[in-house]
């Protein structure tokens, strides 16, 4: 077994960026996140490796013996691995870790829900015009049927009027879940995207930017900072995420982001009114039909000469079946119902189907840009689905 003392450890939660909306954490809250972060790290760097061996030595031969051929698809691999005692233990622990992360975050934020709500209101009062909530926006069924990645109440629960706890929990826990790989303020994807755009279009400055499925806007902010003259619209379905994100941004002194509640399948904007459109880890949370509609809307809204890019976990094509199987764990066991379908979708083909010229479409890789003292993805073992590097697909209009 890997010598545990040689392993790096996760940065302590006290290294997570503090801002005006940060909940007041006790020592015990912090220690719970520290335990979970190091547990995630240990699982992702040591324990996970046994699955490949269990597959090769036990599960695959068993399948071969009973089926007359080795398991070939990720579904066949899952079927035989589900019988393996090592995989069962790994999975059961991993699921418990997901649930404990929710419990830890909710322990931290729910007891101070009124104080957090009041703080958000006070911050928002300085610039109410950049928070546009729309009570007529309803959560589509594909979103309300299942709580996303095991968050009780998903992004939408409101335990009191003006509640922001769904977002506060999301924000507080992600540093532990990702063991610092997304940076102190969880903005590594946005910072990476800004850097990517600067290199792709040197000297070009977008003027109107759309962040789709922006959540609490953690990746909108570095784009807003990179292009301080631009107006950024961060769109999301969830009022709690937008309320919190708006207050968080203002608390950081960032004022060029408008947080707007809307369904990305049907947006209240004029054709061609954005010259840069992006999303980060959003598309895998959308249903097949929603995905088509969202990319259709994004096409309608992109101005001539503009560019759009969508960051996601890498697609399954070209990947071995065993890696697909491991990466698919979240779809089966962590309430990510559209994860498999998205990773089987050829986004370039879908964009072409929607009328984009093939030679305008690109695929690339974007890495998280994080503070010097935060861990870097290139030196880390990837915890499937949580690493700080992404497949990116988009096109120039």
């Amino acid at each position: 077994m890997t010598d545990a003392t040689r392993l790096g450890c996760a940065p302590p939660w006290t290294e997570a960026g503090q801002h005006a909306m940060s909940p007041v954490a006790t020592h015990d809250d912090i220690a719970r996140f520290n335990f979970l972060a190091n547990f995630n790290k240990f699982m992702a760097s040591v324990v996970v490796t046994g699955n490949a061996i269990a597959f090769k030595e036990r599960a695959a031969p068993q399948w071969h013996a009973s089926h007359g051929a080795p398991p070939e698809t990720r579904r066949e691999i899952r079927e035989t691995m589900r019988e393996d005692p090592y995989y069962r233990m790994w999975s059961s622990l991993r699921r418990s870790g997901m649930e404990m992360r929710q419990q830890a975050g909710r322990t931290l934020v729910l007891r101070q829900m009124a104080a957090l709500r009041d703080r958000a209101r006070a911050l928002t009062a300085a610039h109410p015009e950049t928070l546009r909530l729309d009570p007529t926006v309803s959560v589509p069924r594909y979103q309300s049927e299942l709580d996303n990645h095991c968050m009780p109440g998903s992004y939408y629960a409101e335990y009191l009027e003006g509640d922001v706890t769904a977002a506060a929990n999301y924000d507080a826990g992600m540093f532990a879940t990702t063991t610092g790989l997304f940076g102190r303020f969880l903005d590594g994807a946005g910072r990476g995207t800004a850097e990517w755009l600067r290199r792709r279009r040197p000297g070009w400055t977008p003027t109107r930017i759309l962040d789709l499925g922006a959540g609490l806007g953690h990746n909108s902010l570095p784009i807003a900072q990179a292009f301080p003259e631009a107006e950024i619209i961060a769109v999301d379905l969830s009022a709690p995420m937008l309320r919190y994100g708006h207050a968080r941004a203002l608390g950081m002194g960032i004022q060029n982001v408008t947080f707007q509640q809307a369904n990305a399948e049907s947006l209240p904007f004029e054709d061609g009114c954005f010259d840069f459109i992006f999303s980060t880890m959003f598309l895998h949370e959308t249903s097949h039909s929603a995905l088509r509609n969202i990319l259709g809307e994004a096409k309608r809204l992109l101005a001539p000469g503009g560019v759009q890019v969508h960051l996601e976990q890498p697609p399954y094509r070209g990947m071995g079946a065993f890696e697909q199987f491991l990466r698919d764990w979240d779809c089966q066991y962590n309430n990510e119902p559209f994860w498999s379908a998205l990773h089987d979708t050829r986004l370039p083909d879908l964009m072409v189907e929607l009328g984009v010229a093939r030679d305008r479409v690109f695929e690339t890789e974007i890495h998280a840009l994080v503070e010097d003292e935060m861990p870097k993805v290139s030196t880390e073992v990837e915890d499937y689905g949580r690493g700080g590097m992404w497949y990116a697909c988009g096109y120039d209009s």
Binding site: T5, A10, P11, A31, N38, V46, K56, M89, M151
Partner: protein, 107 residues
Amino acid sequence: MNELELQKLINAAASGKRPHFFADHDVDRLLAIVWAMAGELAVTRERLDTVERLLSERQLLDRANIDAYRPDATAAEERGRWQIEYIARLLRILQQELDTLQGKSGK
């Protein structure tokens, strides 16, 4: 909302069927409890660590000081390392399985 109601809300289940991995579902349930205990023990250990550090630094104890404590780089490193070793200690049975698997594959 009283304390018990708050704890119930904190502990709410996410919608969707909870998966089971072991043939006997009681094993999943027991493991979830054991792992929650492991987490809480880590919490206690970390608090104790803080108390000890504060005592040695200042020769006094004040609970507010504990909540305000932020580890420096060295302390953070030591504490993270302890977490990793602690997790490895608890997962002894899994390590033994992994060792056997690695032995089989000649690693």
